[in-house]
Symmetry: C2
Subunit: 378 residues, 2 copies
């Protein structure tokens, strides 16, 4: 009954390519990473046990945003599950924070959004979707109702900042007590969310989690040998403090609520037999790291001079800005009018663009991910 | 083990009263209706069979908007289910169209919204929520995974308008072929959505549906013996056509995508043994109609002269406008700038307000509902 993994239906292959055309430039990096992880989802689809009679297979995408970047990966996973269990209905739950744009999620899934007119929901029968607008650090699904959980580039967010960071804007530039506090917060969050997922999983169920992290060579997002992106953020923001454009308090209040874990930190609760996660039955199946080159940098390099330095800078900065802007806006005093905040942050990214345009050497936002597969054995 | 229905925990009674204070004036009518139906939900909670071992009880609220008006009713239902099945987890699915504001729904449930800081989700352990942003005319949940389905004041919306209505804006003023086409559309929609719900329900599961409808005396929303609200809409809109403020085409394009069913129409597929719904196993438990007096009218009458006619009109029109405005805006030509559309519609409701202020006698938007309980027996 089962097809070999490399022999997926031709429609799926066609759709994955077609679908790719709809993704905006700005999310290309995220989609590359998810495509790279399709194999892990198919492995999971291959090993999860048959559901009890009459029960659907239940999948969940944690921190899914508008669902656009993972749609093609889910399609392949769902097609493989349907091959194994032809009569079994399938339900997919998408989770994100309450403020997420769930209307865009449902419009995408229904074929009215950026994923194009054909999605697994429009094309495959007996598939159902829903969404949960609550953060993933707590249990979101009833006990033992989840077959495959997935999360891409979401779980580096910690539930709250434990402290400020004095001379930087990200924990990658923190040290001493600040770094220790961020590490501790991230450790608790990781254990809590893995415990929550373990309760949700059926025995034999799988988790596939791709996360920003720090690899064995110390590389992380925007720091892969060239110019360090987070150091550039910190330096430009610090310059604006020195000039008096922003205050010292505002600089101090600016910090990404994120933590980039090392592979060791990711794996610790899965390998320490005394940890609550291990004792609840969650086991590591595989862990690896991977670097995906910045697509904007690649386009610039491949243009071989037909793209100007400024053109590269103009194409490159929006992808940084899309996920970082809120951090800088929120660092500013609440007493400033919104318009003033916007002007300051516009100026900040303009300086980043000018710096890249002046000399683009070494500027690139390469993705560094840790890819984890886990299984609930109890 | 089971408590008598009238003996709910004191906390629930307190919360229902407290919760009431948070509801805005504009939704008071809807909440009154749902409170009135709590008894039907408790009856359902009393009779649904125990779930299979390890399975949660699953509830669903179809066409739930931001969940605010039904929160207190769900709390009572959940508390009663927890009394019956102490160890069973409970999941509530909220459905609405993709364009619904699901962020408000989740914020409300998490205690950050109009339902106040305490909701069944914040106060009761082992309850889980999710949302489905797809219209309820199709199946939204996997087969036999629903224990109690609920819907309040939502299923009078039909999936599409089958035709225009020449000299009115609502099917209550349609006749001949137009009325027949709306009736046919509503019949198909009702059968389709009941069939979808029947597939979703576990055997022994219940549906509780409260819907705008036409009662045994021919009464319906805003038509309970005084001045007919929909006729007033049609007359004022028609006046604007006569004056040339709107075109004949615009008048013709203006029609509520709604159908008010009679009790007979509601019950037909549940009593006709040859219908697909009946054959799928759905049975009528009870059907009744009820009229809830307009809270704005009541406040005006109780003020005994201390509220001016204008004050009543100013308090009354916004509740009509909140759910009807989009219909009039959408009736206008797409070639008009938005600002012009807004001006026309402002003028329309101003005229309604002026008419009420001039002589408030007979103006009231009384709710007329049909209350249906159904059970899946196969």
């Amino acid at each position: 009954m089962n097809q070999p993994l490399e022999n997926l239906p031709a429609t799926a292959q066609t759709m994955a390519m077609k679908g790719g055309g709809y993704y905006s430039q700005r999310t290309r990096g995220a989609k590359d990473v998810i495509d790279n992880a399709v194999k892990m989802l198919l492995d999971a689809a291959q090993v999860v046990p048959e559901p009890s009679k009459g029960q659907p297979i239940r999948l969940a995408d944690f921190g899914a945003a508008d669902g656009g970047t993972s749609e093609a990966a889910w399609r392949k996973c769902i097609e493989h599950l349907r091959d194994r269990f032809a009569q079994t209905q399938i339900q997919v739950t998408y989770t994100d924070l309450p403020s997420n744009d769930f209307s865009s999620l449902f419009k995408n899934l229904l074929g009215f959004g950026s994923s194009g007119p054909n999605t697994f929901l429009t094309d495959i029968e007996n598939v159902f979707v829903n969404a949960c607008g609550i953060g993933f650090h707590q249990q979101l699904l009833p006990d033992e109702t989840l077959d495959i959980g997935f999360s891409a580039t979401a779980m580096h967010y910690i539930s709250e900042k434990p402290c400020t960071i004095d001379d930087h804007v990200h924990m990658v530039g923190a040290s001493g007590d600040s770094l220790a506090a961020f590490a501790q917060q991230a450790k608790h969050n990781w254990e809590d969310l893995l415990l929550a997922r373990t309760r949700e999983l059926r025995p034999g169920g799988r988790l596939v989690i791709l996360n920003f992290g720090i690899d064995e060579q110390g590389r992380y997002l925007g720091n892969t040998g060239g110019i360090n992106m987070f150091n550039t953020f910190a330096e430009l923001w610090s310059n604006m403090r020195k000039e008096g454009t922003i205050t010292s308090d505002e600089f101090k209040n600016t910090a990404f609520p994120q933590y980039y874990r090392t592979v060791e930190e990711f794996c610790a609760p899965l390998e320490d037999q005394s940890s609550a996660v291990y004792q609840a039955g969650l086991r590591l199946v595989s862990a690896k790291t991977g670097v995906h080159g910045c697509p904007y940098r690649r386009a610039f390099d491949e243009a071989q001079g037909s793209m100007s330095n400024r053109e590269f800078a103009v194409s490159y900065i929006p992808t940084l800005r899309s996920w970082s802007e809120a951090v800088f806006v929120n660092g500013l005093s609440g007493e400033r009018p919104q318009e003033e905040k916007d002007q300051i942050v516009d100026q900040f990214y303009q300086r980043y663009e000018d710096r890249v345009a002046e000399n683009p050497d070494g500027h690139a936002m390469d993705y560094v991910h840790c890819y984890l597969a886990m299984e609930k054995v109890l």
